[in-house]
Subunit: 339 residues, 2 copies
DNA sequence: CTGAAAGCGCTTACAG
DNA sequence: CTGAAAGCGCTTACAG
């Protein structure tokens, strides 16, 4: 019950606390004999260094903060798994907080992260986040890695996916299959991910000389329900699209549900391509053609960026962009055409 | 850059550090005027209390440890979301670590949790965990809430789902639909969840007078791949089953894939019921009949148990069991029969 | 190579 | 209601 402290170990081993500290921290300047004695004492007493005390003395922290915007979204879950994996490989732990896309909650958690004195912060900002609202973090000198979403005017390390190219590839694929009336269910343009994917859609249509029919471009809020509602709206309109490109995983699931409920066939009545692949995309009805993001790799890379920043605090800021990959299954109609 | 400390605030406000501490901690014994002055100073300086220092002084911690066994499994993700939500509602943060069903990693993270002096620990143990391996945690006096899986001989607060009844209901449903050759793809019986769900399967068959055909009972390792392999094995056997009950979500996804690849129809060629509902179960091919676990509620309840334990350290240990719910969709063939 | 001592930022009896 | 002071468990110059 009574916690074992460094003092207990020192007494037990008959050395000073300084020596115990050195042994515990692998300082080479300790005589082998003393080292052994201390390690035995640690073992015998079941001593575990108190990290709170260590951090108080300004030691390099071993807790990394991860602030994500939607813990229910499989995309972020996979990112989290990558972060956790890479942190573990570097003997760090992860303090995870979920803002739920709520900026008050985000502010509260940013304060928690500062109060916990995390070694660094990997951060997926909610839509309304401004560079100004992060000054506190930057002033505190906590390394900040921005993940997935950009923030206007914020100077920091940054990691994203090439959303424009990913969306472009998906829409071009549909065009190549012969579809001409291609709708998009987009995410809010307030988010960089939303506007970039929309840009890819526009670029692909324009490059093919099809032009953009603004009535086919619907903007949702990235939640499942809005994918459901907008897909319904599109398919019930006088001139429904031949194909729909949906800008994220949750909206894609909603769109699927809506199309099923309307008893329409995919891809015969309407083709579907989603942004974000999911582990179960192949078991959906029909198997989903999707733009796969390197989610796990995003998490790993974010920690990597953080470690580099910790190692070289004054290095110039980096922006790393990872590429996506189009995975063709059945919902786009590619297999149909082939027959 | 230079961190603002309590001393800075005290000087700025012209009071002692003790007074600042009282204001920050909402001690009522502070004159209103001083309180205002301190709060202004906090605001002006952008002061954030250092939690590491606070914890060092033995203050009730505000970080809660969550150690789960598989961060890739949607079940635990949803639990995590529930924990996070409830923790937030009680001004606590969550330190999440993922053992990945690896006991060395689990041991390492248990040490991390102790070293971080978490206020309490919510814990999903890996299969081989013994009560003995947790003595260190118990001796450290950290409240421990065991989640989902039991550990033989461990005295602590415990939260599970009624696995026996859940599995029983699923199998009985299949029996009621007229199936007589009902297979099960079970999880390892080393886990309480695995053995309990298998128990429910046996009980239901015996209660119906069907008896258990041991050749129809396959044991996997809860991963997707084993669901795939065992479903294949079952369907390629000389006498394939009419229905399969799969004991967890990942194996269910694997079984679905195997059945699709064999070009068999669900439920016409083989009916399927899974343990664990998933947010996308309704969009699977066909929509999946599943035993729904109250995952989010499990997370919330775990934090609740922890808070009660923190409030009453000497109360007798509690075991809370939540009930499951069978969600009937199409994969079981219920709709087919109705026609 | 080793130890005594100062100090990290905070809280909490103890006086007043 | 307020402040001076001790101490939480650790690390790190500084002497030796």
């Amino acid at each position: 019950m009574a916690t074992v402290t460094m003092r207990d170990v020192a007494e037990y081993a008959g050395v000073s606390m300084a020596t115990v500290s050195r042994v515990v921290n692998n300082d080479p300047n300790v005589a082998p004999k003393l080292r052994v004695r201390v390690l035995e004492a640690v073992q015998a007493l079941g001593y575990h260094p108190n990290r709170a005390a260590r951090r108080l003395r300004g030691s390099p922290g071993d807790v990394l903060g991860l602030l994500i915007s939607d813990m229910q979204n499989p995309f972020f879950i996979s990112v989290l798994a990558g972060v956790e994996e890479m942190a573990y490989a570097n003997q760090m732990s992860v303090l995870v907080c979920n803002t739920g896309e709520d900026s008050a909650r985000q502010q509260m958690y940013l304060n928690v992260m500062l109060a916990e004195r995390v070694a660094g912060l990997i951060f997926v900002p909610t839509p309304s986040t401004t560079a100004r609202s992060l000054t506190r973090v930057l002033e505190a000198g906590v390394p900040l890695i921005l993940l997935d979403r950009r923030i206007e005017g914020l100077e920091t390390d940054m990691l994203t996916v090439d959303n424009v190219r990913g969306a472009y590839a998906a829409v071009k694929h549909l065009i190549d299959l012969g579809y001409t009336r291609i709708a998009m269910i987009a995410g809010s343009a307030v988010l960089s991910t939303g506007s970039e994917r929309q840009q890819g859609y526009r670029d692909a249509l324009n490059a093919a000389g099809l032009g953009v029919d603004e009535t086919l471009l619907k903007v949702g809020n990235s939640q499942r329900e809005s994918g459901y509602r907008l897909a319904r709206e599109l398919m019930l309109s006088p001139q429904p699209p031949q194909a729909i490109f949906v800008a994220n995983n949750l909206m894609t699931m909603g769109a699927l549900q809506a199309i099923h409920e309307l008893k329409l066939r995919i891809p015969e009545d309407v083709a579907l391509v989603g942004f974000d692949d999911m582990p179960w995309s192949g078991e959906l009805c029909p198997p989903l053609t999707a733009v796969s993001q390197p989610t796990y790799e995003l998490g790993r890379e974010a920690v990597h960026l953080l470690l580099r920043r910790l190692a070289e605090p004054d290095a110039p800021f980096r922006t790393v962009t990872l590429q996506t990959r189009l995975i063709v299954r059945e919902s786009c109609g590619a297999l149909l055409r082939r027959e």
